[in-house]
């Protein structure tokens, strides 16, 4: 039983990591209807920039601030160069543009900082919490808990931003209806730049968490693929969906890996999450918390 709890807890905490990446997707999709495939490479770009700056002897907080600034600039540049000319194009064109953006971002970050993998330390060791493992014999990583805490804070901040501030109201208005928002005088372009910058910040946080766990390397770009089932399960438009979806995917993936994996030869984590998400979709085609679409002829 303790083993089962340990597996589920580990899965839930891994799910939080997925949710961190999925959050970035949700933010951009909500506000601009763009499915930003480049989120994975933004995570990579942010983590690589941060770790390269700290390795050059920069102060941790200074590096964080500079990277955040870089992500804001990146968001504005993307809005300006890629999105603005593509307004009113079908979603698949926008998706392809962000895949093109993936190539550019990966190329730029490796050109700037080199392609060798880096280790990342934030001062929180990735070791099991002692009193938990002594008392109940359950191993849960201290760092995972920290990541979960960070994700919680992030979601709370985003929720306040979306619900309580002037910018948040504008964001929700844009998400609801571009044209109506424009008509009441909301500057669409500013809002998009803000959203992309926010997504850049989320990417930075996700990059740091994933970087500590797996090292900062090219494989970070694949975190996007981990986040996709989370997204379709939770629904593209819902921040809450990203979190809940992440938890469901993380837990079920871990449980399946441990209890089902040995029977089918292992390695099932590459597709199991997708199948789980697919099963949920068959019941709720727009994800758990996605907006219901009414088809009109």
């Amino acid at each position: 039983m303790t083993f089962f709890i340990e597996v589920v807890a580990g899965g839930l905490l891994a799910g939080v990591m997925y949710a961190l990446v999925a959050l970035g997707f949700v933010l951009i999709y909500k506000a601009s209807g763009v499915f930003n495939f480049a989120q994975g490479s933004m995570v990579f770009f942010a983590a690589l920039t941060f770790v390269s700056l700290t390795e050059r002897g920069w102060n941790l907080w200074l590096a964080l601030a500079v990277t955040f600034l870089a992500m804001i600039v990146l968001g504005i540049v993307i809005e300006r160069i890629v999105l603005r000319p593509l307004v009113n194009q079908p979603p698949i064109t926008l998706l392809m543009a962000t895949i093109g953006l993936t190539f550019v971002l990966e190329g730029v970050s490796q050109l700037m900082w080199g392609s060798q993998p880096h280790g990342l330390e934030l001062g929180i060791p990735d070791v099991p919490i002692e009193w938990l493992s002594q008392k109940w014999n359950i191993n849960i990583s201290q760092f995972d808990l920290f990541a979960a805490f960070v994700a919680g804070v992030l979601v709370a901040v985003l929720a306040v931003l979306f619900q309580k501030t002037r910018i948040g109201r504008a964001l929700r208005a844009v998400a609801d209806d571009h044209q109506a928002a424009l008509a009441v005088g909301i500057p669409l372009q500013h809002i998009w730049a803000i959203v992309w910058a926010t997504a850049g910040f989320v990417a930075l946080v996700a990059g740091l968490m994933w970087g500590v766990r797996n090292g900062v390397q090219y494989a970070l770009t694949f975190t996007a693929l981990k986040a996709l089932p989370v997204l379709i399960l939770g629904g593209f438009e819902s921040i809450l969906g990203a979190i809940v979806g992440g938890l469901i995917i993380g837990a079920s993936e871990k449980v399946a890996e441990v209890y089902l994996g040995p029977y089918v030869g292992g390695g099932i984590e590459s597709w199991f999450a997708y199948i789980v998400a697919l099963l949920f979709l068959l019941v709720r085609p727009e994800g758990l918390f996605g907006e219901k679409h009414i088809d009109r002829v």
Binding site: A97, G100, F103, G107, L111, G114, S115, L278
Partner: protein, 358 residues
């Protein structure tokens, strides 16, 4: 002046409905076929045939397949490479396990197996749409790749999962030289492209396009949603499956499941978008562009190195190439979202009037 349809009268319905109603188009296509079937194998050297033109044709076939699904029927799929993988591995097994199997029959079996997989993974399309469906088709991509890797039967229990394509023999002649392989590929691609062109002009094709444009409206006017969507998946995966089989048999020779990763799916999707969604010609243009462009970039970077007299580090070159490639795709999407096929159409309209302005 040369490209005018004035004076070409159509007196029967079938003349009006032919694929190339303009005489100059017919001559052009015929000339293109002659060049492709006769001139290219004669003048093309081994490298060009086996490393450039054959893969271009194969990828064009896969693009055609995806174009039927995405461009005509409007169902976004990211599982193309998986269907290609199924085609390649099942063709291999058909050749291996069925005695005296003709190669074309094996290709058909590979394609049919891919079509079956396509139908299974097309089932969610009845419930989910758009980007949700795109992500759902990723399930197919990862699951099929995993199955090909893990289930030994597919690769005849080879330890590394690699299969080696059997020697192709047709009517007693071995298809061994690059030129022969090229001709086989070309013949299959040409026939299948013609079939696709005709299919898209038929009732089935019109049903696909109705579903693409608005599926609720299509079902209201009586187009069977389930049958049509699954048919689109089946036909599309059949094309991809045959392309995968050709990929293994006439291009690579030895394949492992890792040849059919998500990257390949994306490349084929790029070809569809760059070439023009919903266009048979566009599939070829897009495949040609994406296949040739990296080679062109590579030549350009080498030329640059020679011109400057310095040796650039490999990492710099490959990263710059990625940046230029991605940047160019974005640029293309911005200036011509309807793809190269649309550019060709505009050129044709200009040609009709040339050299007069109106």
């Amino acid at each position: 002046m040369l490209y005018r349809e004035a004076g070409q009268f159509k007196s029967t319905y079938s003349q009006d409905q032919q694929i190339f109603p303009i005489l100059q188009d017919r001559i052009g296509v015929l000339a293109l076929l002659v060049v492709a079937f006769v001139v290219v194998p004669l003048v093309g050297d081994q490298y060009w045939l086996s490393a450039l033109i054959t893969p271009f044709l194969i990828l064009a076939l896969a693009t055609l397949g995806l174009n039927i699904l995405t461009g005509y029927a409007g169902q976004l799929s990211l599982g193309t490479a998986a269907f290609m993988g199924v085609g390649a591995f099942m063709t291999y097994n058909a050749m291996l396990r069925i005695p005296h199997m003709p190669i074309l029959g094996a290709f058909v079996i590979g394609g049919l197996c891919a079509a079956a997989v396509g139908i299974v993974f097309g089932l969610p399309s009845l419930r989910i749409k758009g980007l949700y469906l795109a992500v759902a088709t990723l399930a197919c991509q990862f699951f099929v790749l995993w199955a090909l890797n893990r289930v030994g039967w597919f690769s005849n229990h080879s330890s590394s999962g690699v299969i080696t394509a059997q020697r192709i023999e047709m009517l007693g002649y071995g298809v061994d030289t690059p030129a022969a392989k090229y001709l086989l590929t070309l013949a299959i691609v040409a026939v299948m492209a013609l079939a696709a062109k005709n299919l898209m002009r038929s009732e089935t094709g019109r049903a696909f396009m109705a579903i693409r444009d608005m599926d609720v409206a299509a079902s209201v006017v009586g187009i069977p949603m389930m049958k049509t969507k699954l048919l689109a998946f089946a036909i599309s995966s059949f094309y991809c499956g045959v392309a995968g089989a050709l990929y293994a048999y006439t291009y690579l020779g030895t394949v492992e499941p890792e040849a059919f990763t998500l990257d390949l799916s994306f490349r084929v999707l790029f070809m569809v978008i760059i070439g023009g969604a919903g266009s048979i010609l566009g599939s070829f243009l897009g495949a040609g562009f994406i296949t040739l462009f990296p080679i062109f970039l590579n030549l350009a970077s080498r030329w640059l190195e020679n011109a400057l007299g310095i040796e650039l580090p490999h990492a710099v070159v490959s990263n710059s190439e990625a940046i230029i490639f991605g940047g160019l795709i974005i640029f293309f999407l911005i200036v011509e979202p309807n793809g190269l096929a649309r550019l060709w159409q505009i050129t044709k309209e200009k040609l009709r009037l040339w050299p007069f302005p109106h």
